[in-house]
């Protein structure tokens, strides 16, 4: 219905259909901004490595990279409290790393090793680390929005002030579970932040061609009595600002929010996809908006020393190298795992 060409926008949250309000100046302290940068560098490096390992036949099955979308996960990772909950999709490497999950088990999981985050049982699409508040990556579109509500409801009932953040794609906004989840969250005033990463494409179909409104999430907010929020998902500062404010709102008991972050995946949908369906111009335009190089330029322009950034980059590389080496060195999971942990008694026994 609408073309998939990116609109021009400014670093801002905008009420859909209204002119953009002035940009609130980002006031995050330098330590935060360096941390955002470090997170993005690590994510980028990690996924590039994953992609190389795939080409070497060491990552099997499928994996969905978030290359180009790092600012969203990085900002929320920075803004969340350690006991907050994350729910993500199959495109969830970044969101997992963002919660402080070490690289090694994530890499090992992609490689199907016993030292993997789930010993190889889940795979790339189901990264979960409960101890880090990473409550799962979900591979069937829609469901996890309703599950995120449950975690938020639980926090409310238990009287903790934990906040749940739930990430999903633009394509997920057209499935029924999106609607059910948003309505319930609003009615129950749940402490949950829904973050739509609008990267303009479903798998190979432009979101505009199958969506009745221009902004798949922001233009639906009013249907749940929520204010629309459209933000530049490739601007780490803007993302951090909205992450902080939406989490604070949820923590304060103001109920849910729905954020649409405009971003772009640099590569294909999954490892099998060369992404030929996108125009060169579109890709070029978005590479120019790359959140990582853009942020680096901004930091340098604002006086951060190049040495500091180079140091961060080097540290990230060695972390990645180390994680890769360890993961690669680890064993394949033993066959006994196939019938492990179907039930809480640790086994798969369905009879007596």
């Amino acid at each position: 219905m609408f073309s998939s060409r990116p609109q021009t926008w400014t670093t801002t949250t905008r009420t859909a259909g209204e002119p953009a309000p002035p940009v609130p100046s980002t006031a995050a302290p330098e330590a935060v901004r360096l941390s955002l940068y470090r997170r993005m560098v690590e994510m980028r490096g990690f996924e590039k490595r994953a992609s190389e390992l795939f080409l070497q036949g060491l990552v099997k099955g499928t994996s969905h990279l978030g290359l180009g979308q790092e600012a969203v996960a990085a900002a929320f990772g920075e803004a969340m409290r350690p006991d907050d909950y994350t729910f993500a999709t199959y495109r969830g490497h970044n969101h997992t790393l963002a919660r402080g999950v070490p690289m090694m088990p994530v890499m090992a999981e992609l490689m199907g090793r016993e030292s993997g985050l789930m010993a190889g049982k889940g795979g790339s699409m189901h990264l979960t680390s409960v101890q880090h508040g990473m409550m799962g990556s979900y591979a069937i579109i829609g469901a996890h929005l309703t599950i995120a509500n449950g975690a938020a409801w639980s926090a409310k009932v238990r009287g903790t002030d934990q906040v749940t953040v739930c990430f999903f794609g633009d394509g997920a906004t057209n499935i029924g579970a999106f609607h059910e989840a948003l309505n319930l969250a609003a009615v129950w005033k749940l402490p949950v932040v829904f973050v739509c990463e609008n990267n303009l494409w479903m798998e190979y179909t432009p979101i505009g061609s199958v969506t009745a409104v221009r902004q798949p999430a922001a233009d639906r907010a009013s249907a749940y009595n929520l204010p629309p929020a459209l933000v530049d998902g490739n601007d780490a500062d803007a993302m951090y600002a909205i992450a902080t404010s939406s989490i604070a709102g949820a923590r304060a008991g103001n109920g849910p929010s729905l954020i649409e972050a405009l971003t772009y995946r640099h590569g294909g949908h999954s490892r099998a996809d060369p992404a030929q369906y996108r125009s060169d111009a579109e890709v070029r335009e978005w590479l120019e908006r790359d959140p990582l190089s853009r942020y680096r330029l901004r930091l340098v322009a604002e006086g951060v020393s190049s040495e500091e950034l180079v140091r961060i980059e080097a540290e990230a590389q060695s972390k990645i190298d180390e994680a890769t080496a360890q993961a690669q060195a680890s064993a394949e999971p033993p066959a006994s795992l196939v019938e492990k942990d179907v039930f809480a008694d640790g086994g798969a026994t369905w009879r007596r």
Binding site: V157, A177, N183
Partner: protein
Amino acid sequence: MAEMTYRDAVAVAIAKEMERDPTVVFLGEDVGAAGGVFKASVGLLEKFGPERIVDTPIAEEAILGAAMGAAMTGLRPIAEIMFSDFLAVCWDLVANEIAKARYMTNGQVSLPLVIRTSNGAGVRFGAQHSQSVENWAMMIPGIKVVAPSMPRDVVGLLAAAVRDPDPVLFFEHKSLYATKGDVEEGEIIDELGRAALVRQGRDVTIVALAAMVPRALAAADVLATEGIDATVIDLRSLVPLDVTTIASSVVATGHLVTVEENPRLCGWGAEVASIVAEECLFDLDGPIVRVTTPHVPLPAAEALEDVAIPSPARVVEGVRRALG
């Protein structure tokens, strides 16, 4: 010892568990102020308040999603899906999410939750409100499946289901809600996966579930008048499945008849039959006969529904075939 209805036994069991454990919460459509469309949760809102007894929109995915997310973060939710037919609307949550979470995460996630639903025919509600879908549940690895046939078992099995660390699909039979039975005083907690020998006989083993149990017993009475002495086993749960009780009875009688309300193909009786045909083949003295609802959607009219669901007469006929 008190006599109570199957319907009241539900509310009694939920109330007991909620009193015992403050993390138990209960959600569903019309379950609070209205006390449930089958009046199986009357009084709970008054007792436990709107924080723990929660009315939802008509949004079954949202209901089960909320239950799942709550279960993985410290609560023990009981979610009601009003009619078991509506499990189809939220089957993704049941089959793909709730059932698989522990396994996919290598044991990181526990889901101590119960999905209660009204199952089965007998009230002339037609094809979309009368199905027996216990076999839908049985085929999904990762959930336990329970279906009581009498008020006492509602209390004992629902308590066990709520305390169980795994997700349990709890099928109440809508044609049984008004039936009465004795329930002993005090705490009743059953073990999931233990079948009950509700009649002991020498000649044939009849295995039944939920509303088919009274029908199997009625059939056994008829058979007795013909000199055929039947064992009737009330399975009570499909997962875990009490193979031990079934198999030892078949070894003794040499004959097996299953009585299923679910439609024929891939019903739970097929699973039972296949186990016996593998593990006790040489103990069998005759064919394994399955008495099932025919493989049809259900008709609404009384005259037709009565023909579709296994009757005592059809069970009798099935036993005769089994005995050859």
